[in-house]
Symmetry: C2
Subunit: 193 residues, 2 copies
Amino acid sequence: MQLLKDRIIKDGRVLSENILKVDSFLNHQIDVKLLNEIGKEFKKIFNDVEVTKILTAEVSGISIAVIAAQYFNVPVVFAKKTESVNLDKETYEGNVYSYTKKKQYKIRVSKNYISKDDKILILDDFLANGEAIKGLNEIITNAKATLVGTGVVIEKSYQPGKKILEDMGIEVKALASIKSMTDGNIVFCKTKK
Amino acid sequence: MQLLKDRIIKDGRVLSENILKVDSFLNHQIDVKLLNEIGKEFKKIFNDVEVTKILTAEVSGISIAVIAAQYFNVPVVFAKKTESVNLDKETYEGNVYSYTKKKQYKIRVSKNYISKDDKILILDDFLANGEAIKGLNEIITNAKATLVGTGVVIEKSYQPGKKILEDMGIEVKALASIKSMTDGNIVFCKTKK
């Protein structure tokens, strides 16, 4: 998605070989117009897929999922990270390892909002180590629902997640796929995703 | 907003006199169509106000803010609760007391994404004790920006927040204003907000 790649080059900040900061337009300040184009692009990619629900994880997946959901005409469910007093006791859980915090945590979806008949599209902001998507997939498996597609805005294809998920049979569609960020230079993969 | 009130009566669950659960359509599973109507309603209410940015707090304000932002044509900034490694060191802070967790925490916005020239509309899901809005207002004050309006989807007018904010000169517009939830019965305020 050229518009997105241009924006990453213009406003993304490479903090290290693995950390790309896009918080001026994607996950702290949000450019809602860009997000609309992102939503349309996901709809194009998954146009032939029957989707009953979009699943994401808090926090930074939420804005992407709700804007995209407008093009799919389906509800969004976001998995919660914390045990809220207001969250139902009956939940489907997934495990996520945080490399930044160096610990495992659980994400949860109330059993009321995902059922075995659901055909679920996972959307998220980044694919790096694949942990969030693995956790979301675990929730889908526990609910006996069906994963029908997985999309991320930005993929860092040189980090382990892409391969790990592929080995699990999960193909991730990325709107921008980064090949390397050596010395602060962002190089995109040439193959169209 | 009648559509919202009808939905609250239909799908809201009163867990106690102070806790209304709306996670089937607002803050766990999200009915994006309803959210669009909510966004339009906020635009109607704040139509005469010049807004350069919508500010909210993670987590449950995000979906509301981004959908509404489409009608205002402005970016969204959401205040973060955690000290992320990816968050800028230079931030404006606000203090929020959590009654459920019985402790104070900080919310933060990078200084890059709010400036003294910004005219800010705060949007959030609930007004109960007013803590989140107080914290967001503190961020706006610290940034020397201008608060031009405050909107919430649901206000529980019998809890202290409404009065506390009014005393600070902050008028909150609520799309549904609840007068009481005694014995599980939701009673809305009659006055149009």
